[in-house]
Amino acid sequence: MDLLTFLQQLINGLSLGSIYALIAIGYTLVYGILRLINFAHGDLLMVAAYVAVMGVGLFSWPWPAAFGLAVGLTGLMGVLLERGAYRPLRRAPRISLLISAIAASFLLENLALVIAGGRARPFPVPQMFTGAFVWGGLFVPRLSLLIPLVTGALLVGLFLIIYRTAVGRAMRAIASDLATVSLMGIDVNRIIAFTFLMGSLLAGAGGLLWAMKYPQVNPFMGILPGLKAFIAAVLGGIGNVTGAVLGGLLLGFLEVMIVAFFPAWAGYRDAVAFTLLIVLLLLRPTGLLGEALGEEKL
């Protein structure tokens, strides 16, 4: 492989991996505090993309307004999911929660189907994010710069919240002992809602980036990136935010490299991702940065 091709693929892998990372954080945050795999999380990408499509296409809003609203409403949708589908089951067996999550996912997909129809729609990519730079022999789409930059900024914000604020401390404390957090005078429900808000806002941003990268929108568009991001979260060690970022980047790079260097395997890129998950979990059941789960965490 020559250096140029490698660099080129690095750039491609970075933008794909960044999106996985943004989405993976939502899975890992929720798992960290509730031990729940939020299967509806991937569908939030679709929600964000559709709100943006409607804003720009139907109401002819300028894109910053439509995108802002899309991210905001997606955050709200995540909070609603927790309120409606998970909070009432907090004391129920874990399996009920899981079933509720799957049901919520179907609900979102079918709502989109009813409201927007099954036909795929083009996503209105703002003019300023189309096109590419050519540097030497490197071909760098503007999006490939935008995506890691946006992701980086959001991650810095998120890490500041988690590790430098009182709310972030409460979020991490809930992951270790929910009942005792309430003994600190903290309204646990509000912290959980806030956690869903964080994860869903990031999923909203990830959804818009994804839709700009693959500019087609349909009701089931969130499923595959959602699953991939879930893999990324497990790869990194579910419950660990840094791990989710690492897992997302790793998965993004691997997928892109496989397609670039083994073009014959290109059709199997998803299969490769899932195989990777199985192999890594066999070797390291807790993921890259995950700690062994104590009994109280299961």
Binding site: R172, D177, A179, T180, V181, L183, M184, G185, D187
Partner: protein
């Protein structure tokens, strides 16, 4: 300050508390004694809303607490050092103490209180950036006490705060409780160490299988001939037969 009337708490079919009544006057130290499983922890959990009473009333400064969510009870000025320490293992010592002060906004006073806790427990000071889960059992106990104090409670509940501490530190903790009390904090203390607890308590209650079986002023109670049998388990038929080889 606190009055408990006819409190009843069940875990499924098990009646853990069966009509417990007692009161903790403002500015006093009251201790709750009893054998293992007599309902001491359950009483503290009911007061703080962690266990839901099936019957009875819990009145704090004229306000009914039963049915309120835990965080609102805490906001009334109550803190609990829970049984088994329950420190946040993945957070640092410093972060644990800050969480204790979550509700406070008075920065300068908060920093002073933090220093004071580090003064009282120098072992915590030396480990302030260490993950709390890596502390020894005794150090975790100090942290649980420190964390509760960080909220500046007016009413402090302690569930066996001396458990797992070396004798010298047990003495230190009892001194601390007395000192806090002199500063105006009302205290409800659950202890295994009945003699030590009664020495500092103004009043004591003895629980047995979910009922109050004995009560009295601290000194009076420690001299009570029935304290030992009651404390060790009052039902003769439940007593283990003498060990024979």
């Amino acid at each position: 300050m606190l009055e408990v009337f006819d409190l009843q708490v069940s875990y499924g079919a098990i009646k853990a508390l069966d009509g417990v009544s007692f009161s903790v006057p403002r500015g006093r130290i009251v201790t709750l004694l009893g054998a293992n499983g007599s309902g001491k922890t359950t009483t503290l959990r009911a007061i703080t809303g962690l266990a839901a009473p099936g019957r009875g009333r819990i009145v704090f400064e004229g306000r009914e607490l039963q049915g309120l969510p835990t965080h609102e009870i805490i906001r009334a000025g109550i803190a609990l050092v829970p049984e088994g320490r329950r420190i946040f293992a993945n957070l640092t010592v410093y972060e644990n103490l800050l969480l204790g002060a979550y509700l406070r906004r008075d920065q300068p006073a908060l920093a002073r209180d933090l220093d004071q806790i580090y003064d009282t427990f120098p072992r915590l000071a030396a480990r302030r950036t260490q993950a709390a889960g890596t502390l020894s059992g005794g150090e975790q106990q100090m942290l649980a006490v420190g964390r509760a104090l960080m909220s500046r409670p007016r009413f402090l509940l302690l569930d066996e705060p001396s458990l797992g501490l070396a004798p010298l530190l047990v003495k230190e903790v009892f001194h601390l409780i007395t000192r806090l009390n002199q500063q105006g904090v009302t205290i409800l203390l659950v202890e295994q160490n009945a003699a030590a607890a009664l020495k500092i308590a103004h009043h004591g209650y003895v629980l047995s299988t979910g009922r109050v079986v004995l009560e009295g002023a601290g000194a009076e109670l420690s001299a009570h001939p029935q304290l030992q049998p009651a404390y060790l388990g009052d039902e003769p038929e439940a007593e283990a037969p003498p060990f024979s080889s």
